[in-house]
């Protein structure tokens, strides 16, 4: 049965190859991005859930926007 199915699809041998290629290339892009990404960004993202739910009376502006951010503004 295995053969019947395979032979009946034209170009079936490329299906698996193409899908693997799509996946691997996407994966490589992600890895490259992760290697090159800014460490401050990762740190900021990591701490996102731990930021206070409200800024009111908790922090002064320069503290919550991050040092890098502040220099920009």
């Amino acid at each position: 049965m295995f053969k019947d199915y395979l032979q009946s699809i034209e170009g079936v041998e490329f299906y698996a190859t193409i899908s693997m290629l799509i996946f691997i290339s996407f994966f490589i892009v992600i890895i490259l991005w992760l290697i090159k990404v800014d460490k401050h960004y990762i740190k900021k993202m990591k701490e996102l859930p731990l930021e206070p739910d409200s800024y009111q009376a908790v922090l002064k502006p320069k503290e919550f926007s991050g040092k890098k951010n502040e220099s920009k503004i």
């Binding site: 049965m1 295995f2 019947d4 199915y5 395979l6 009946s8 699809i9 079936v12 299906y15 698996a16 899908s19 799509i22 996946f23 996407f26 994966f27 992600i30 890895i31 490259l32 991005w33 992760l34 290697i35 090159k36 990404v37 800014d38 460490k39 401050h40 960004y41 990762i42 900021k44 993202m45 990591k46 701490e47 996102l48 859930p49 731990l50 739910d53 409200s54 800024y55 009111q56 502006p61 919550f64 926007s65 991050g66 890098k68 951010n69 220099s71 920009k72 503004i73």
Partner: protein, 709 residues
Amino acid sequence: MELEKFSYDNGIVRKFAFATVLWGVVGMLVGLLIATQLFAPALNFNIPFLTFGRIRPLHTNAVIFAFVGNAIFMGIYYSLQRLCKARMFSDLFSNIHFWGWQLIIVSAAITLPLGITTSKEYAELEWPIDIVIALVWIAFGINMFGTILKRREKHMYVAIWFYIATWVTVTVLHVVNSIEIPVSFLKSYPIYAGVQDALVQWWYGHNAVAFFLTTPFLGLMYYYLPKAANRPVYSYKLSIVHFWTLIFIYIWAGPHHLLYSALPDWVQSLGTVFSIMLIAPSWGGMINGLLTLRGAWDRVRENPVLKFMVIAVTAYGMATFEGPMLSLKNVNAIAHFTDWIISHVHIGALGWNGFLTFGILYWLIPKLWKTGLYSKKLANFHFWIGTLGIVFYASSMYWSGITQSLMWKQFTPLGVLQYPNFLETVLQIIPMYIIRMIGGSLYFVGTIVMVYNLIKTARQGSFQKDEAAEAPALIKIDDPFKKGIRHRWLEGKPIYFLFLALVAILIGGIIEFVPTFLIKSNIPTIASVKPYTPLELQGRDIYIREACNSCHSQLVRPFRSETERYGEYSKAGEYVYDHPFLWGSKRTGPDLHRVGGKYPNFWHYLHMENPGSMSPGSIMPSYPWLLTNDLDVSNTSKKINVMRSIGVPYPDGYEEFAIQDLHAQAEEITLDLQKSGAPAEANKEIIALIAYLQRLGRDIKAKNYSTNK
């Protein structure tokens, strides 16, 4: 910098929290009832609405969509608002979502015991409810994306990625698997048949586990675990890698539910390969969760919230290692159709989903009511009794699954089956069913203790429906993070993100589906396989109504132990008129694919009235109502029409004569029954069911059996 004033909607979070707890109790209670029925079948009280086949789907639906579903929404509505620094997009949509979802649950709780079901696991609800699900889900989506779009925090934390992937994938799954043609207001047939229906169903079923029970909970883990531990997640980079690999790979793995079935071999192999690959991203998530606590394990000893979360993440790791192992054909040959699978899913449900939900509730309720937890001691008690419950549950089911499977496969030195009577293998594991029930009860007791603890906590605190907050508005400035590849190409753009997630999950599905559908004409058709007669079709619908497929498979695998026990193994071509397929996923009773002609009509008649009379000690419930209920034949011609419209070759105009054929066949069976001494009447449901059972698997025994390609 200006701070904008707004408020968080805690009211909607409280509503979902309440629903989570309520439906959790209900779902577990129904689970306890069916677990008990497995060693005390009389507990169906001969009432159709309380019979195992009908309420087993009630248990699974209640736990998955009511308990876990509401827990997901509770967790998302709280965390999304805070991560976006914004109130939910629309209070109206929040409420439509909440009440709509509860409406769906209530309609499930009504229709399933009534036997109104599509028979597709975890998608049993009939078409009108399917439409409501779609609408409510869209309301949820609009509300979620609306919130994300109006967020004050520029960056989308990884938890939100998981929420987005969940939403988009569940949408696709639900739509594709629910394409069905209505016969009446509460009855429909799926457009797919046999092998194709099985492939679509298990692509759905598997990914319901992936994208309803896993990805949203990983999102919740990434928010609530750092919150509870008060430290950031171990590796944000790891979370990104495992997110993309998880959603990409998961979608391919569905066929591992159909190993050794009539599904094309290459699809089965593809499913296995991707299942093995799944270990990597799954364990990436588990490791990330556990290592978040590195250097803080002393806090786990003191904090019940963290205890629950640690066990949850560990259970996730166990279940996601076991899953790929079960996808190996040699392991699957032993585990499939047995209690091993029941154990596997309960590690996930009780451990991962249950315990993470409990952990979140213990953290969230004091937070919402601005107080401390009423009793840490009771929470610790809950933790230990719950854990003990899981251990009892899982170990008994592993034991029972492996024991029974080995008994099924055991041959004597003379080469015949050592346990030819299926019932013997069931009676052997009854003690395990009792232990499982005890395990479930322990877990349930823990849940009740939690309910008490949470109510007390709420009583001592004060709830604020709208929590005032302030945050700076989102200003369109150049991103400060310049170094390396810019991240905003993706993560700051939710709609691109949605699109990419969609592409990632579609690839796998398409590559598996398209060939299996396109080659329809090349499936080795079997000339002697004919459509069901009208009476058999009605009987099949009774089989579906009573959910016989909850306990009986219709799929003989190509093993000697199975062909000896049941007969010729099942071929893809035999199912071409099966809308829906009824392969089943568990053999609490024997396979029925070759049951046609195995017993006389009279045997079935007595067996359905009281299974114990034919098989002493049987744990099958009695179905006395089948002997007294009149068969509803009013929709016969409609059913024939619908079947023809989805590809079953009934001749044109046959719907006019179908009812005559139905009566003629019913008379024939009734006469035979009466000859044997049964007080049978031709217009009863049992006649149709017997007609269907006697038809099963007989087509390929016909004299003109041949295959054409």
